[in-house]
């Protein structure tokens, strides 16, 4: 596995992860375009953790963006996981094609997302430019008062409501949409800790059983990432008899206490 090879990339990932709050694709585009990084070499667990850490630190972070990031990250992790798991030698042609399809889909999404991100920045320029001019809305003076249609014409309860929301919204608030996004409560660090507590007791368990109590796809992904980290550290052995089959996790008692938990400090 690429545990050591990824070491130099970790710094890079952390470096770009911190200032990037505009969106997950920004990060990925950054990593892929600017840093020339093969995503298969990017330690996604580290990026996920870095993001989660930032989320915990900055309450005003756009959770919308964070959620989006994690969704994409999980897709990437799924792709990556297939590469990391044993059984590569006997790849089924259909599976290989499916992998390519998935990759193409992701590529298409990245391209489309980049397209609209660029459009958005142009929109932003348009808005900034237009915002410098103020339209005349004073209407006519009292000489024509009798001719002016009733000012309430066209005012609906809904418009009134919208106007109230507008009026009470602080003008400089950047992200009004923050309130509609569910909080994210999973972290790889937490998952690692859980596994370190759980695995020595059970000794051996299938991944399916290990994650059977989890409802969120994201939680499963995070659990899986944690497992990969433990594998890298030699804490567990992973066995998979067939590609995409269930994974058996075997705790390595020899490796007790070798794990540097500090790495995961949130």
């Amino acid at each position: 596995m690429q545990a050591n090879g990824a070491a130099n990339l970790v710094t890079m990932a952390f470096d770009v992860a911190t200032p990037v709050y505009e969106g997950p694709f920004d990060l990925l585009l950054h990593l892929i375009l600017k840093e020339q990084v093969d995503i298969y070499e990017v330690p996604l667990s580290r990026i996920v953790d870095a993001y989660l850490t930032e989320i915990e630190k900055l309450q005003q972070l756009d959770l919308d963006v964070a959620t989006e990031f994690l969704l994409i990250a999980s897709t990437l992790v799924e792709l990556k996981a297939r590469r990391l798991l044993p059984g590569r030698d006997d790849i089924d042609l259909d599976d290989e094609l499916a992998l390519w399809e998935e990759r193409d889909l992701l590529l298409a999404r990245l391209v489309e997302c980049k397209t609209f991100k660029d459009v958005a920045s142009v929109f932003s320029r348009f808005v900034d430019e237009a915002d410098r001019s103020f339209p005349r809305e004073a209407g006519s003076d009292e000489r024509f008062a009798a001719l002016v249609p009733d000012m309430m014409d066209g005012v609906t309860p809904k418009r009134l409501h919208s106007a109230y929301i507008r009026a009470i919204t602080p003008k400089q608030v950047q992200r009004v949409d923050l309130f509609h996004v569910a909080p994210i409560r999973v972290s790889v660090a937490d998952a690692v800790e859980e596994l370190l507590d759980e695995l020595p007791r059970v000794g051996r368990i299938s991944f399916q059983r290990l994650t059977s109590g989890l409802v969120e796809r994201l939680e499963v992904i995070v659990r899986f990432l944690a497992l990969l980290e433990l594998f890298k550290q030699g804490m567990v052995e992973l066995e998979q008899t067939e590609r995409f089959g269930d994974i058996e996790i075997v705790w390595n008692p020899e490796a007790q206490h070798a794990f540097a938990i500090d790495d995961y400090e949130g």
Binding site: F134, E137, P157, L160, Y164
Partner: protein, 227 residues
């Protein structure tokens, strides 16, 4: 030199010959007179103003003596007249404003009669919405939410009979409290104020609205509220 100009300088103004709006604006500058940007700023401010703007307010915004502002305004008014524009700059109710030239009234009337759909300005609508949702409410409270003096808008709404004085603040100052009227409800096709769209439809809860009103950062705990 200019400080002694009479208030009603718009009449019989002997500076009418200067064309500040012409191509030679730079040349129109007189030593001691602020540059043409002040005139342009006056034009911009008066364009967006809903109520006549007093010379004092312009003076404050432009950081010029009021006497200079009055002079500039009278020159500007004269230049419009001379150029034969369809609008004019007049001094009414203690302030300056743009209005249409009297001889174009037939066009304006026709436009207002069949052309123009009514559209309440965004500011007026927001003020009305605040009164509707927060009544009884004082002028000062409206101002503190909108961040701007709502005096003109409140007067207009009151004149139209959509809001009215519903009481007095018991505190010092006895501020007038406003509320909406029956004709307001009728116009919206509502039975009662309870029929206004509930605020919860768009925001998680009263606590968040409250927080927004106070301009506070929403606490993390609020994120748990269902969207």
């Amino acid at each position: 030199m200019m400080s002694d100009l009479p208030e009603d300088e718009l009449a019989g103004n002997d500076l009418a010959g200067n064309d500040l709006a012409g191509n030679d604006r730079a040349a129109a500058q007189v030593p001691g007179i602020p540059d043409a940007d002040s005139v342009r700023a006056i034009e911009a401010i008066l364009l967006v103003a809903v109520e006549p703007v007093p010379a004092d307010m312009l003076a404050q915004l432009l950081e010029l003596p009021a006497s200079v502002v009055r002079l500039l305004c009278s020159e500007l008014a004269a230049s419009y007249t001379e150029a034969g524009h369809g609008f004019e700059l007049v001094k009414v109710a203690g302030g300056y404003r743009y209005q249409t030239h009297p001889d174009l009234s037939p066009y304006v009337e026709r436009f207002l009669l069949d052309g123009q759909r009514a559209r309440m300005s965004g500011a007026a609508l927001e003020t009305l919405a605040i009164v509707a949702y927060k009544q009884p409410i004082s002028r000062a409270q409206v101002a503190s939410i909108r961040g701007v003096d709502p005096d003109g808008v409140l007067r207009t709404l009151q004149a139209r009979g959509y809001i009215t004085e519903v009481g007095r603040d018991p505190g010092p100052g006895q501020a007038v409290l406003f509320g909406t009227t029956a004709s307001f409800l009728e116009k919206l096709g509502l039975d009662s104020l309870a029929d206004l769209p509930p605020l919860a439809e768009f925001v998680p809860g009263a606590d968040v609205v409250e927080a927004l009103e106070h301009g506070l950062r929403v606490q993390p705990g609020h994120l748990d509220a269902p969207g």
